[in-house]
Amino acid sequence: MDFDQIVADYGPLLSRVASSYEANLHLQQELLQEISLAVWQAMKGFKGNSSVKTYVLRVAHNKAVTHVAYHAKQPHNEPYCEVENPSPDTSMSTEKSVSQTSMVSSLLQAVRRLPMQPRQIVTMSMEGLSYQEIAEVCGVSAVNVGVILNRAKKTLMEQLNHEQ
């Protein structure tokens, strides 16, 4: 599969994986580049045993694990960074746009507060992967995926409702 096509199809997904691991925008962009490079290299080894999306997500999360291993220190306090925040959708009214940006930001913060495995599972679920596909990526049973996912979603809902 052509890499341009992969980026076109899965670029936004890769960006969301990066944002679930890294709050600092500069490091987030760096991680997105690292993940994309890893996916580019790994596509040669794709044998079609799973869907492209599952394979891409497995590579992306494994690469993110590497990122965590090298950068895992104290939680980031989002220092100044020269990368600009992507522009929000201008088609909405300002009030609605601000409210939505705030909700998305709260969700991202809540996701990043989750421990690693529930974070991976919940983000893959939100990307539309089935329990079985998530189980293959994470190396846990599908039953465990269900248990972890329910707990994680409950935690996210509680945190979002608490912040509102």
């Binding site: 960006s15 997105l32 494994n62 590497t66 965590v68 909700m103 998305v104 529930p118 994470c138 190396g139």
Partner: protein
């Protein structure tokens, strides 16, 4: 927000996304490949340096030095194999090699091996001067090398021992501490996860 988990999915997809810089990606790939070639060159040159010396300067070397260099070469060769063995978790360490749990486990094991490699490098800092001294003592008392030549070699070897070995020890010690810290931080991240879902 309502309490429907589907709302989470909708919200998740509303986040603004960054784009991949393809040109930067190609640059990164070139740098990555160049680094790999450089490391390969360093590994190969450290292995073949002694055979090249033995091959190029056979007449300048006494029989004793020939035997000595061959012995050191065997030692370096065995040590290189040991280090390659210790690096087995990261050699061929591809991001598509397994599921995330396996990947995390291999990462953890590689950190432990890196700590061991750094420890053995520290030991090497003490062993190398001993090998140098043994060479000088045997060459001196066995009268295998001309005294003036031996004096020059002695100064060079002692200079290397006095300057390079302490620097190498500091470097290895820092690496050992760095990997111990990283391992602890990495394990803490994943232990939190285990206790949360267990």
């Amino acid at each position: 927000m309502s309490n429907k988990p589907n709302d989470l999915e909708a919200l998740w997809h509303q986040q603004t996304v960054s784009t991949v810089d393809f040109e930067q990606l190609q640059k990164q790939w070139k740098i990555l490949r160049l680094k790999q070639y450089f490391y390969l060159l360093m590994d190969v040159s450290s292995l073949i340096a002694l055979p090249i010396i033995i091959y190029l300067f056979p007449k300048e070397l006494s029989t004793f030095e020939l035997v000595w260099f061959s012995f050191v070469f065997v030692l370096v060769f065995v040590m290189s194999l040991c280090i390659i063995w210790m690096r087995r978790y990261s050699l061929g360490f591809k991001v598509d090699a397994g599921n995330t749990n396996e990947f995390v486990e291999r990462f953890r094991l590689q950190y432990k091996q890196n700590i061991r490699i750094a420890y053995w490098n520290k030991i090497l800092c003490f062993v190398t001067p001993l090998i140098f001294m043994l060479y000088l003592v045997v060459a001196y008392f066995g009268e295998y090398v001309q005294p003036d030549v031996l004096l020059k070699k002695g100064k060079l070897l002692m200079g290397i021992s006095a300057v390079c070995m302490p620097l190498l020890w500091i470097w290895a010690s820092k690496r050992e501490q760095k990997f111990k810290k990283r391992l602890a931080e990495f394990e803490a991240q994943w232990d939190v996860q285990n206790s949360a879902v267990g």
